[in-house]
């Protein structure tokens, strides 16, 4: 039976978290909402404009392209990082001293400030002086990410895979290590192939942790700004201008707050919607979240 006890004292315990998070979340959100429905021509005179900015942003070609690039980017990195992270976690030894060494080394990329990651890859992939760039060109591959959009995309994705797959490995490994040995013994006795072991024992047991990995990776990749802006600045042209880079250009560049705020709200709602879909799909079969 559910061992939790009905206790409204719970609210007291949750209050400090509520205040801290609400302070940082709700007030800024309200300011953005406030801007998104007003027009201003400087010296903070504001005129109520209703949903004008929202219609304008939703209709704008530029927003559709940026959103398209963002969805493509997020889809690609999820399609690579989740399976790769799980595969690496599966390949890691289950017990023994090597495990903690592997985890420490793998966690290093997660500990580097995002702009350093961008700067590092920026130089690393440069055709003449970068280790990666030069080697590729030596091997005859004409690779210059500062000029060809396709090369820029490859570099951007390689950087993100390099930067974040370790988080998926850590989470997947955590899920794997909670599987009791008896399951593996039963599988051996039933003569299950390693694929069957993965499909029917490891995957179901990891589904819970993978939900977290997918949600975390989805949210962070959809919001990504620092690394791409340092690496390619959205270029060449606007080949790699993802949603948040475009937003910052719109907001800080031309300093028209209204559209930027409206775009931010739409941006936030898209994430909320997609996260809710992921969340219910992946926890669906288990009933309550």
């Amino acid at each position: 039976m559910d061992t939790k006890i009905e206790n409204q004292k719970g609210w007291l315990f949750v209050l400090p978290v509520l205040i801290l998070v609400a302070f940082n979340a709700i007030i800024p959100l309200m300011t953005v909402v406030n801007y998104s429905v007003q027009e201003t021509f400087g010296d903070n005179l504001f005129f109520f404009e209703g949903l004008k900015w929202f219609q304008q942003v939703l209709a704008s070609e530029r927003f559709h392209h940026a959103l398209g690039r963002q969805l493509l980017f997020t889809f690609i990195i999820l399609a690579i990082e989740i399976p790769l992270g799980v595969a690496i976690a599966l390949a890691m030894p289950r017990k023994g001293g090597w495990v903690s060494v592997c985890l420490v080394l793998m966690a290093l990329p997660l500990l580097i400030p995002w702009n350093v990651v961008g700067a590092m890859w920026n130089i690393f992939a440069l055709p003449e002086i970068g280790l990666l760039g030069k080697t590729l060109n030596e091997m005859g591959i004409d690779y210059n990410y500062t000029r060809e959009p396709f090369a820029a995309w490859i570099t951007l994705i390689a950087m993100d895979v390099w930067h974040w797959t370790s988080l998926v490995v850590l989470l997947a490994y955590a899920g794997l290590s909670s599987i009791p040995d008896a399951y593996y013994q039963a599988a051996k006795i039933d003569g299950a192939s390693s694929w069957a072991v993965f499909r029917y024992i490891q995957l179901p047991k990891m589904r819970h942790v993978l939900t977290i990995a997918v949600l975390l990776r989805f949210m962070d990749s959809f919001n990504i700004y620092t690394e791409p802006s340092v690496l390619t600045g959205g270029g060449p042209g606007n080949a790699t201008t993802l949603l948040s880079i475009d937003l910052v250009k719109v907001a800080l560049g031309q300093f028209d707050l209204g559209p930027a705020a409206a775009m931010s709200i739409i941006y936030f709602l898209i994430i909320l919607l997609l996260s809710w879909i992921f969340y219910t799909v992946m926890t669906g079969k288990r009933g309550e979240p």
Partner: protein
């Protein structure tokens, strides 16, 4: 698959270490050598970049500021998350499920979106350019994560332990401090690691909310990169130094992470 199994993680770790090696090796090269062409190993090895960082206050203050606000944020997030995680793990109260999902959604707020409003908010309450500001701002995404991880650990401790303590006469807070927290030290370690990590690497909010007094190293570095672009060696050295605090923290919690942690309810 088992015999070649170890090949996959080893190859992957090599792939991870390559760019880091490149960064570290550049930090010992002069800028001319870097721009001059590809050299696998620093030809004219120099410590000039590091000497510059350790002598110039605008550089080393960056590190100090970063460490200050990241530590404040980690301590604050864990302290605030502990009772909340306990409530989610032990009690059913009105709207607890929805609250948990709402906390989750705050990770979704794109930092780029909220840079400007944060600036206005923290200036309004007079906290602009202080360590507290950045520490508080980072709670937006660190506190929900802390609650998440701690709740997973706490659900592993049987409810009967609490009851035994109450029966022994412990009041709630004395039980919480003396008995309950020591049993989830592993959870606190893992949570602290993740909070430290996500706060240390964040740039946007840290840059927006500071100018001089609490300017983090990450901000100092962007200024160098964008203005001249020539001081690559210096940038590489600064980048290498940002690796160290993270490596130290993970060194301490590596066994807890290796043992795995059951991320609780999602």
């Amino acid at each position: 698959m088992r015999r070649f199994g170890w090949l996959v993680p080893t190859l992957y770790i090599l792939f991870l270490l390559l760019p880091i090696y490149w960064l570290v090796s550049m930090s010992f090269k002069t800028t001319n050598e870097i721009l001059g062409g590809l050299t696998l190993w620093p030809q004219d090895f120099t410590l000039e970049n590091y000497r510059k960082i350790f002598t110039d206050p605008t550089w080393y203050n960056g590190y100090i500021n970063s460490i200050i606000y990241v530590t404040i944020n980690t301590v604050l997030s864990v302290t605030v998350a502990l009772p909340a995680a306990y409530a989610f793990s032990r009690y059913r109260f009105i709207g607890d499920k929805h609250l948990f999902f709402w906390l989750l959604t705050n990770r979704m707020a794109p930092a780029a979106v909220f840079a400007l409003p944060f600036f206005q908010l923290y200036s309004a309450i007079g906290l602009f350019d202080t360590h507290i500001a950045v520490a508080l701002a980072h709670c937006l995404f660190n506190v929900p994560l802390a609650v998440w991880i701690l709740e997973g650990f706490m659900s592993g401790v049987p409810k009967e332990l609490d009851e035994t303590a109450y029966v022994d006469g412990y009041g709630f807070w004395r039980f919480f401090g003396k008995i309950f927290i020591p049993t989830i030290v592993a959870g606190i370690g893992v949570t602290a690691f993740f909070c430290f990590m996500f706060s240390w690497v964040e740039l946007l909010l840290a840059k927006t909310l500071t100018s001089v007094e609490a300017k983090p190293i990450a901000a100092t570095m962007t200024r160098t990169a964008s203005t001249s672009g020539y001081e690559l060696g210096l940038l590489a050295a600064a980048g290498t130094l940002t690796l160290i605090p993270g490596a130290v923290v993970i060194y301490f919690v590596r066994n807890y992470i290796a043992k795995g942690f059951a991320l609780g309810r999602v």
